[in-house]
Amino acid sequence: MNSRDDSREPCSDGAQPPAIRLIGIGKSFANGDRRIAVLDGVHLTIEMQAIVGLIGASGAGKSTLLSIIAGILKPDRGQVCICGAASEEFNDWRSVGYMFQDDRLLPWRSALRNVEFALEAGSVAREERVRRARAALELVELDAFADAFPYQLSGGMRSRIALARSLVTEPRILLMDEPFSRLDAQTRSLMHEELLRIHRLKRMTVVFVTHDVAEAALLADQVAVMSPRPGTIREVIDIEIARPRDITQPEVTRYMQRLRSAI
């Protein structure tokens, strides 16, 4: 009943908790003898099954915020709630997938074994692991390349295998840190279609960091615009365009302009 318990109270209200709720998140890093505030008072609620983009100028703390949501970085202040549980009490991290900026495939493992890697942290039996990894490769339509090593695959294929690896655990939440930023424009737009197709099937909550207003306008249901020094959420914009969306649609262009002016 002390004040520390009160701060956790908001996690467990309501029958249908949001996928992610951020309450007053603050984070600073030491730089010499000064401390630099990277995030200050970040509030955000992300509903289940939503696709949410985090956009903002570089240095706005987008990636830091994503790491805090993923629980690999501790905030100095504030509360992170995942599926209605306080982050530090949440114990189902394997239902949270994470995709890095690069594909981060292990070069000594075949495509299939790379996807399996995500299941090896837990205690999934070998046959079960192989079966699920194959299913994940089928989902990204790369089951024919199960035995190929990363160096034998193109950038887009490697990216899809990384996607399969973050989906093989059947995550309820998928966090993506500028996942397609290193791909060429054409491959990137194929990956967007891929992601949306899988989202229609699996209905996981997706949070992605991007600096690309087109990517945000095409993918997201909502875009949280962050402003820098210290990073905070300036505005949350609902993207109300029916799917499928296309870069040539005037509405998309309008939202892109709106996002650009908000950054």
Binding site: F100, R104, L106, R109, Y151
Partner: protein
Amino acid sequence: MKAPARAPHVRLDLIVQRLALAAAGIAVWWLSSLSVPHYILPGPARVWEALRLIAANGDLWNNLAITLWRVVSGFVTAALVGLPLGIVLGANQRAGEFFEPIIPVLNTVSSAIWAIFAIIWFGISNATTIFVVFMTAMPLIITNVWQGTRTVSADFIELARVLRMPRWKIMEKIYLPTILPYFFSGSRLAFGFSWRVSLVAETIGSSSGVGYRLRQAADLIRTDQVFAWTLTLVILMATIEMALLKPLENYLFRWKKDVEMQ
């Protein structure tokens, strides 16, 4: 039409080249042996006779087996000690910094000196040769594994952390595969050294093995037998290298682009 490097006819070409080189070597050897006494430089025919003799009376196989057994024992012990030690020194920065000077010191001590110490400590026994092989191979393996540990990618460790992988699994699934190529090349180097060094050790500290037989043959001025033993060793080493280690390396590291291209 020479572009596809993996086409079989190119390999055939290589075999012909190698055979020609060997034939030329033997011809030069034979020609030089004609003008000097046979106890200085015996000709190919004489060495072939000596080889047949030691092979027929079992001398060859017995002593090769003894030497091989000693080399393998010393080498395996060195690998078992060197691999974990290299990982610990590489993964723990303070330990690494503290022990760093020991490796160059160990590497500068000549194998002949280890052999002399070994005789003082172990006398004329198997342990003498095994010890010398161990002391020569271990620093090489440690150095390579240590170097490999430094190349472990922080990105891959972050990946494992995001997946909430326990520390021992990170060791097994990230550290070990990263280190393996370094361990392997260190081992190959160490194995080659082990052979050479074992002969030195057997020459001065043993009453059996190829090294002992070499010295015996030299003492009796049986230069043809010295050549016969030498030839056997060279062929054995080349066979192990080409028929065992190289294919094993190609298989283990097939995920590396450059291995595939060779």
